[in-house]
């Protein structure tokens, strides 16, 4: 096992090293600074913006949502949240060109509203099902205690 792991580790370093070499040798400094900015921005945006935002949403949901809505709402958040993030380039229409009508040729806002509406329907149906199923069960408490909740 330890040999397999050491071998894998060495292989990974080799493969990654090749990538780093290609990255560093085939572009000028301005381009590299651009790439480095994007690399750092991705981590910062996820770890210190998106993840805390999700924590906040979950904490908020745990406060305001009735128990039986919470589980369907979390499923809805996973589905709609990731789909929305994916759709940022098309929703913003940043790549749109006046000379090319075949590019970004949908009404993405309407599309998003349909997806959001269907998610809402799903959450409602899910809530209704869990209500009728768990009417007598003492449901489990939910929600994540966010940063700053402090200690155990």
């Amino acid at each position: 096992m330890i040999r397999v792991r050491a071998g894998l580790g060495a292989l990974g370093v080799l493969v990654g090293g090749y990538g780093a070499w290609v990255l560093l040798t085939r572009q000028d400094q301005d381009q590299l600074i651009g790439a480095a900015t994007w690399l750092a921005a991705g981590v910062v945006l996820h770890d210190f913006v998106l993840a805390p935002l999700v924590l906040l949403l979950l904490a908020l949901g745990a406060r305001v949502l009735p128990r039986q809505v919470r589980a369907p709402a979390v499923v809805g958040l996973v589905v709609l949240g990731t789909a929305t993030l994916l759709a940022v380039p098309v929703l913003g229409r940043f790549g749109e060109r006046p000379d090319n009508a075949t590019l970004l040729d949908r009404d993405y806002t309407a599309g998003w509203l349909v997806v959001a509406g269907l998610t809402l329907v799903g959450v409602t149906v899910g809530t209704w099902i869990s209500r009728s199923r768990h009417r007598t069960t003492d449901d489990l408490d939910g929600g994540e205690r966010g940063p700053g909740a402090g200690g155990r």
Binding site: V15, V22, A35, V75, V78, T82, L86, N100, G150
Partner: protein, 383 residues
């Protein structure tokens, strides 16, 4: 506000059991995107030490569609994966030097993995929507960073192998690898979270894949292309953007075919007077969209025969457009000699639209769309 500590995150959903299961599928997506990306990168190279195959004609359509689809599917998987391991970000480093060194290496490799994964998905998604808000070269950088993703992923798997094996071998509710604080039941069960993740992944694919899978066109409300366009095919670079309209529409347009000092000059009516062939071939773009068309025109090999060019020679194809990285492209000998490779003059029983490359464009099987040169002015067979 005080920075959180690892112990503040008490949900039992944030567990190795969930992370390993989501990570497995994320790894599958990364592997497919990597291999199909390498295929695309190689297809766009000028030199092919091993000839890139011309068959099946829809090969590139499938590999590049898979590339963008698996990249898209990786977004929900990566987000859930990062959510499950987020507390580890706040873990206190060990005090003793040995364990500290291991921790630094392990965390360093994870830092590289997360940065490069997010980079690949974000830049790939933006590129597929033709949004280029950056200074770097997309092709070079996306290619180089793909190797770093795979390298750091292999290191990550090597570091976590015992946990991965243990977690995947046990029930999802098994607590062997849980953090001691992670005992509070979540809103969902672990199975529930996993199912939600699979649903989100499927939804992400359905909402986008219609750009390349015709029967999903109506469902894919986030697709970058509806598949509509002049003569039923979308376009990437318009005649207006390439600034070719005056030259392309001019009565003095001539195609020049050259080999070893010999030259043959042909007007569009000369081309139409040659034997016409018809081929059903896809346009498959690097951005992941694709569409199939019924092209008509002159077999490229017939044109090369006019200047007695021998078989197997590469051809330099030059467009009327004055600028742009794909003004001059390189057609490898096996593509030039393939019977299905046409200099297309028509599409779908009509004269080729200006935006599709009127008066004449190249269309070859199993080839990236950017290399299917439009508004062809010159074919020069390599000596």
């Amino acid at each position: 506000m005080k920075a959180p500590a690892e112990g503040d995150f008490t949900s039992r959903l944030r567990s190795a059991a969930v992370a390993a299961r989501v990570g497995l599928w994320l790894g599958v997506c990364v592997a497919i995107a990597f291999v199909t990306g390498l295929i695309s990168h190689y297809a766009q190279n000028i030199d092919h030490p091993i000839p890139f195959p011309t068959s099946p004609s829809w090969g590139y359509r499938v590999t590049q569609g898979l590339h963008v689809t698996t990249g898209t599917a990786a977004v929900p998987l990566l987000l859930v994966k990062l959510w499950t391991v987020y507390p580890r970000l706040f873990a206190r480093p060990p005090r003793r030097l040995g364990p500290l060194l291991v921790e630094v290496l392990s965390r360093g490799s994870i830092g590289v993995l997360v940065a490069t994964m997010v980079f690949q998905l974000a830049s790939g998604l933006a590129n597929s929507a033709q949004w280029y808000p950056w200074a770097f070269s997309f092709r070079t950088t996306h290619y180089a960073i793909a190797w770093i993703v795979v390298g750091s992923l292999v290191v990550h798997i090597a570091v976590k192998l015992p946990i991965i094996r243990g977690a995947l071998g046990a029930d999802v509710d098994d607590t062997t690898f849980d953090r001691p604080e992670a005992t509070r039941p979540g809103v969902l069960s672990r199975r529930g979270l996993l199912r939600s993740t699979w649903v989100a992944t499927g939804v992400a694919v359905l909402l986008t894949a219609g750009s390349t899978v015709p029967f999903l066109r109506r469902v894919s409300v986030f697709g970058v292309r509806s598949g509509e366009g002049p003569q039923g095919i979308p376009i990437n670079k318009s005649a207006a953007a390439a600034k070719v309209a005056p030259a392309a529409l001019s009565a003095s347009y001539r195609l020049v075919v050259g080999y070893d000092g010999r030259e043959v000059t042909l007007s569009r009516s000369d081309l139409l007077a040659l034997e016409q062939r018809e081929e059903e071939l896809p346009i498959a773009c690097v951005e992941g969209w694709s569409a199939s068309g019924r092209w008509s025109g002159v077999r490229l090999r017939d044109l090369l025969d006019l200047v007695d060019a021998p078989a197997g020679r590469d051809v330099t194809v030059t467009s009327l457009q004055e600028k742009g990285p794909y003004r001059v492209t390189h057609l490898q000998g096996n593509f030039a000699d393939d019977d299905r490779t046409l200099l297309a003059l028509g599409l779908d029983d009509e004269t080729l639209a200006l935006d599709h490359g009127y008066p004449a464009r190249l269309i070859a099987p199993n080839r990236p769309g950017v290399l299917q040169t439009k508004w062809v002015a010159r074919l020069e067979v390599d000596a």
